[in-house]
């Protein structure tokens, strides 16, 4: 927080810009000035500024690198490893991790390579995280933006609906959904996404309400800018910071939720696997083969750890108040 800079100093990338404490908190946003080239150029500068601030946060950067590494391993790894997802090595059941056999992290009770399965499981867990977060993002942003921008009675009704949804025991409804419709990965995407949009809607609505009142929106109206352009050019770019932060905080929640369902036996189905499934299988075997529990747990915990760090870092980088 020492290298306090105005948003515009993002243009000079020297980093060590002197504190220019001219910007009062709460009036941060560069892309909001109604100057002719505002749109694209200034929008970039917000991102560049945040990126510069994020790079100074070591924990967040380490987390980012680790996350990229895990994601890359899950994407590419299975192609490089000699074993398939459900391939049985008849010479190695419940084998401990060893270099000689080629099972770097051991095998499970069915002789399947644990590293391969963990990486495949990671694909499922990460894809659920991305898709479900995206679903919640789309629903939440649209719902919140409409509610906030239209305002009035519609806003009241829409938010009352969110309040009711909030007090539902969602976890249990999701489980009920999985029981009734069977275990299906698309259903998991949709169900989790449908659960997580509520906070997003509230955040976006709050942002929209606050921004709607600001002078630069009024100025845009006065200049005769059309509603749609105001929303896309001025409202959304300004609301995007908190939204990004909230998405990074949603992703670990979603991963956790999916693992939770899978752990209970309600998640993805064989032959597909996910970290939650592997942890659940590992729990049954933990006395004789503890690596079956530890390896997927380690992957899951590391990912959650990193996402939390990254989320915190992004919040600091994007939150105008911490400038």
């Amino acid at each position: 927080m020492t290298t306090d800079t105005t948003p515009y100093s993002g243009h000079n990338m020297s980093g060590g810009a002197p504190p220019a404490g001219g910007t009062p908190p709460g009036s941060p946003s560069p892309p909001t000035e109604p100057d002719p080239e505002a749109g694209a150029v200034a929008g970039e500068s917000l991102g560049r500024d945040a990126w510069r601030r994020l790079r100074q946060n070591r924990a967040a950067m380490v987390s980012l690198v680790l996350l990229i590494a895990i994601a890359a391993a899950c994407l590419i790894g299975p192609y490089l490893l000699p074993w398939g997802l459900a391939e049985v090595d008849w010479s190695a059941f419940n084998a401990a991790p060893s270099l000689e056999s080629g099972h770097l992290l051991g095998t499970d009770a069915n002789g399947r390579d644990l590293l391969t399965r963990t990486l495949y499981g990671g694909r499922v867990s990460l894809s659920v995280a991305l898709v479900a977060s995206f679903v919640s993002l789309v629903i939440g942003v649209l719902y919140g933006a409409i509610s906030g921008y239209v305002g009035g009675r519609l806003d009241g009704y829409m938010m009352r609906f969110v309040d009711i949804m909030y007090s539902l025991p969602f976890m249990f409804l999701v489980i009920l959904l999985m029981v009734v419709f069977g275990r299906n990965i698309f259903l998991i995407y949709a169900a989790i996404g449908a659960v997580e949009w509520l906070d997003m809607a509230r955040i976006v609505r709050g942002q929209t309400l606050a921004l709607k009142q600001r002078e630069f929106i009024e100025a845009a109206h006065a200049l005769g800018v059309r509603d749609r352009k105001i929303v896309t050019r001025h409202l959304i770019p300004n609301a995007i910071g908190p939204v990004i932060v909230y998405v990074t905080l949603t992703v670990p929640k979603v991963i956790l939720l999916e693992s939770f369902l899978s752990f209970l036996g309600l998640g993805v189905q064989e032959p597909l696997t996910s970290w939650g499934v592997l942890i659940s299988e590992g729990t049954d075997m933990m006395q004789s083969a503890p690596w079956l529990l530890l390896v997927p747990s380690l992957f899951l915990a590391t990912t959650l750890f990193c996402l939390n760090f990254l989320g915190d870092g992004l919040r600091d980088a994007l939150d105008p108040k911490t400038r």
Binding site: L168, L173, V179, F181, S259, L264, G265, M286, P290, A301
Partner: protein, 308 residues
């Protein structure tokens, strides 16, 4: 206060209606019926069974009947645990779940609050970093990972405590599940308490209290802690919901005969009435807890009055 409580209870009605309606219709669109066994039942017998459970009536009738029964506390018969009604199963499981969950909340508060306060008072010291590091780990590692590891280490390797089972609620059987259930909440509460304590300690009236010569102890105990508790109080609602949800896996892992386990077993066995009954019961419980937390909040914060 009374009017506010009544108003909140009235507001809970639509929420519960949504829960009940949603779960009722979800259950009805489920493929397959409760009597699809391994053996195909003769049509007459199936018809009789359906009539006995009123499944032959039109759907709106069934819905109204279910609602009517619910109002009398009757969740219907369990389809898989023969001879048991869902109400009986819940009545059996709830005391067990309540004991574990209640102890977990208590432990979370008893450990989380002091840890947060200490970390805030010794800000940026080794103690602070240690507490916050552990808290972060507690948040990142889900309870269904912590629980089996606890069971492995303390139940199997060290053999200090039973790794599972209930044993009529004996103390040694309680320790591990309660710890596993509360760790995440301890971590959240410690983090929130630290943050809000730091904010309060930086406020003007604390400076005033110091300036008028109060001892540090008085400043902290009389002036800082109570307002710092407010954000944590409002977190109690989600915390309780989290513990209730967590108890589902914890009971499963440690083999504890609470509602959570009935819920999972019911879900896996497609015992629709049991699952639905549990959802409705948990829903009511969470709504009720949220109300209690809000009332507690108003009791702690003199700025909030629920008079009108």
């Amino acid at each position: 206060m009374l009017t506010y409580t009544l108003k909140r209870l009235l507001q809970a009605i639509p929420t519960m209606l949504v829960v009940i309606t949603l779960s009722f219709f979800l259950m009805r669109v489920a493929p397959g019926g409760p009597f699809d066994g391994e053996r195909q039942l003769p049509p007459e017998i199936e018809a009789n069974l359906k009539a006995a459970y009123h499944l032959d009536e039109p759907l709106p009738m069934q819905y109204l009947r279910y609602m009517g029964n619910l109002l009398q506390g009757d969740f219907g018969p369990s389809f898989k645990y023969k001879d048991f009604s869902v109400t009986e199963l819940i009545a059996q499981g709830f005391p067990v779940s309540l004991e574990i969950g209640g102890l977990a909340i208590l432990l979370a508060l008893l450990l989380g609050l002091p840890l947060g306060i200490i970390a805030a008072l010794r800000r940026n010291s080794g103690v602070d970093y240690a507490v916050m590091g552990v808290a972060l780990a507690g948040i990142a590692v889900p309870n269904f990972v912590i629980a089996p590891i606890l069971a492995l280490v303390f139940g199997v390797l060290l053999a200090w405590l039973p790794a599972g089972g209930w044993n009529g609620g004996a103390l040694p059987n309680l320790v591990l599940p309660v710890i596993a259930l509360s760790i995440q909440q301890i971590a959240y509460i410690a983090r929130m308490m630290r943050a809000s304590m730091i904010e309060v300690l930086g406020s003007h009236y604390i400076r005033t209290a110091r300036a008028k010569g109060l001892s540090e102890r008085q400043v902290i105990w009389r002036h800082a802690i109570r307002p710092a508790l407010l954000p944590v109080t409002s977190y109690l609602g989600p915390a309780i919901a989290g513990i209730i949800t967590g108890s589902v896996v914890i009971e499963q892992i440690f083999g504890i005969p609470g509602i959570g386990r009935y819920f999972v077993q019911g879900a896996l066995n497609r015992d629709y009435t049991l699952v639905m009954g549990t959802v409705v019961f948990y829903g009511a419980l969470i709504v009720l807890m949220n109300l209690l937390v809000d009332l507690l909040y108003s009791a702690l914060d003199p700025q909030i009055r629920y008079d009108d």
